[in-house]
């Protein structure tokens, strides 16, 4: 977690630097089917994050020896555009993005009905165009929408959110500055219908009480975010219906 610093991250009214209360989310907007070529796509803006997701598949797994005769596998590839961060990032995967790709793949694998597609793979490409803290969670949340938009059968959507600790206080949905100077970061993703946790990572320092407070905040927030996911999918279906009516 962050660097030690004297930076104050709350004002005199207990509000955060961007005016939010500890339990507030940043603005989130999701749009589906924004790409033509992919089988499904979603674009998410979450605070300053701008992330494009595209889904291809289910398609035959390649190379062959990767095929699983019992089920499909979901292969997410999280990538940061060279211009997505303050200092230009050299293109190509680094260790951080490889780990994130892995945990996102595993989280989506839990939600997709992979048993319906033996020998197949489902590719989820996540391109972070602008990064602003919480990209893995935002990318995963958009990936679930893109999968649904692609018509991939799922047990449930997957929805993620982070909480963290800032100036000793537990807060929801860390901003970039809070991420840089905070004391803990806890990204979590769940299947919202059942509350099953499919992604959880944590680093920093949290007492067990703080952990419980943080997860409770996150669980509440995922309901709201899931509503945004469902609205985005509905808008898409609605507009599709409209197109057909013309």
């Amino acid at each position: 977690m962050g660097t030690a610093s004297d930076k104050k991250l709350f004002d005199e009214n207990g509000l955060r630097l961007d005016g939010r209360s500890p339990g507030d989310l940043r603005p989130i907007r999701i749009e589906t089917d924004v790409l033509n070529r992919a089988d499904g796509s979603a674009f998410i803006e979450w605070g300053g994050n701008k992330i494009q997701v595209a889904v291809y598949g289910p398609r035959e797994a390649y190379p062959r020896h990767m095929q699983d005769i019992n089920q499909a596998f979901v292969r997410a590839r999280y990538n940061m555009a060279a211009f997505s961060v303050d200092e230009r990032k050299r293109p190509g995967p680094d260790r951080r993005s490889m780990e994130i790709s892995k945990v996102i793949s595993e989280a989506l694998q839990a939600a997709v009905m992979v048993e319906l597609f033996p020998r197949a793979q489902i590719d989820v490409f996540i391109e972070v165009l602008q990064a602003d803290a919480g990209t893995r969670i935002a990318g995963l949340t958009a990936s679930a929408v893109a999968l649904a938009a692609a018509g991939v059968p799922m047990r449930d959507l997957v929805v993620g959110c982070t909480a963290g600790k800032v100036d000793g206080k537990v807060v929801l949905d860390l901003s970039k500055e809070e991420d840089n100077f905070g004391q803990a970061d806890l990204p979590v993703a769940v299947m919202p219908k059942s509350g099953k946790v499919v992604l959880m990572q944590m680093d920093g320092d949290l007492s067990i009480d703080e952990f419980n407070e943080a997860t409770s905040m996150i669980f509440k927030a995922t309901e709201r975010i899931n509503q945004i996911q469902r609205d985005a999918l509905k808008k898409n279906y609605a507009s599709t219906a409209q197109d057909w009516g013309e």
Binding site: L35, R37, A54, N79, A81, A82, R88, G92, D123, L129
Partner: protein
């Protein structure tokens, strides 16, 4: 450029496109031979970047972000800033695009885009010197291709020029005042392909797939040639090239009208 997914386009479709062009002088999507698809440019899409643009050209979509950072000049050009161009053919853009090091295709596109910008002297690199031989501004042009339906060279050139035209040099990072990237002109590339013996402008993917050869001509406001690139394993006659240059001059002006002021 990639063939269609199964590496065959149906004979029927192929013939339809061909016949329509040959008999009616009209393309499958209704365009005239020298007509570009609709261009939409949205600048400042990535506020964190020094400049940026999202460009759709028909159903092709690319995102360009400019990063400008202080660094060392090349030893042989101590009095110039540095320009570098990179194009990523993201796997999200097309079923057969793969992650990994840049392919021949992505390198060719990046180099043709780079040449148009560099040779037109669009960016006044002399004005990007902080201290000669020690510190200059390095301009990174990075382009993400996120949706592919043909003619990436022009889509990427439009995105790069638009992003550069709105870019700001972050001189405050070294204790000076930010200033707009010094721009001298706005180059426009025009790419044409040859289908049988007919040359069409701004091919979509299906046209690329049945074309034998490709020609890109980049010009600036002065009506001079700045960069050219013939591609694909077919040929052009000299007359076809001369006519293509004329076309490029006309179509390039239209593109230039779309650029951000």
């Amino acid at each position: 450029m990639p063939r269609d997914e199964l590496d065959v386009m149906s004979e029927i479709k192929r013939n339809y496109i061909l016949q329509k062009i040959k008999k009616d002088g009209i393309r499958a999507d209704g365009r005239k031979l020298d007509e570009m698809r609709k261009v939409v440019i949205q600048t400042n899409f990535i506020p964190r970047a020094s400049g940026s643009a999202v460009v759709t050209l028909g159903r092709t979509k690319v995102v360009c972000g400019i990063k400008i950072e202080a660094g060392e000049p090349f030893p042989d050009t101590p009095n110039q800033g540095v320009l570098t161009t990179n194009v990523e053919l993201l796997p999200m853009a097309f079923p057969t695009f793969e992650a990994g090091p840049p392919s021949e295709d992505s390198i060719e596109i990046a180099r043709v885009v780079d040449r148009g910008i560099r040779e037109s002297k669009m960016i006044d690199l002399q004005k990007l010197v902080v201290e000669p031989a020690k510190q200059v501004w390095i301009v990174f042009i990075d382009i993400d291709v996120i949706d592919y339906d043909g003619n990436l060279i022009d889509a990427c050139t439009i995105a790069a020029v638009s992003a550069l035209a709105t870019a700001v040099v972050p001189a405050s990072t070294i204790g000076q005042k930010d200033f707009p990237l010094p721009i001298t002109c706005r180059p426009a590339s025009v790419t044409m392909v040859k289908i049988e013996n007919i040359v069409v402008v701004d091919p979509d993917l299906e046209e690329e797939q049945i074309a034998s050869a490709r020609l890109t001509v980049t010009m600036a406001e002065d009506g001079h040639l700045k960069a050219m690139q013939k591609g694909e394993p077919g040929f052009f006659t000299l007359e076809e090239i001369q006519k293509a240059i004329k076309t490029s001059s006309d179509v390039g002006s239209q593109i230039r009208n779309n650029y951000p002021k």
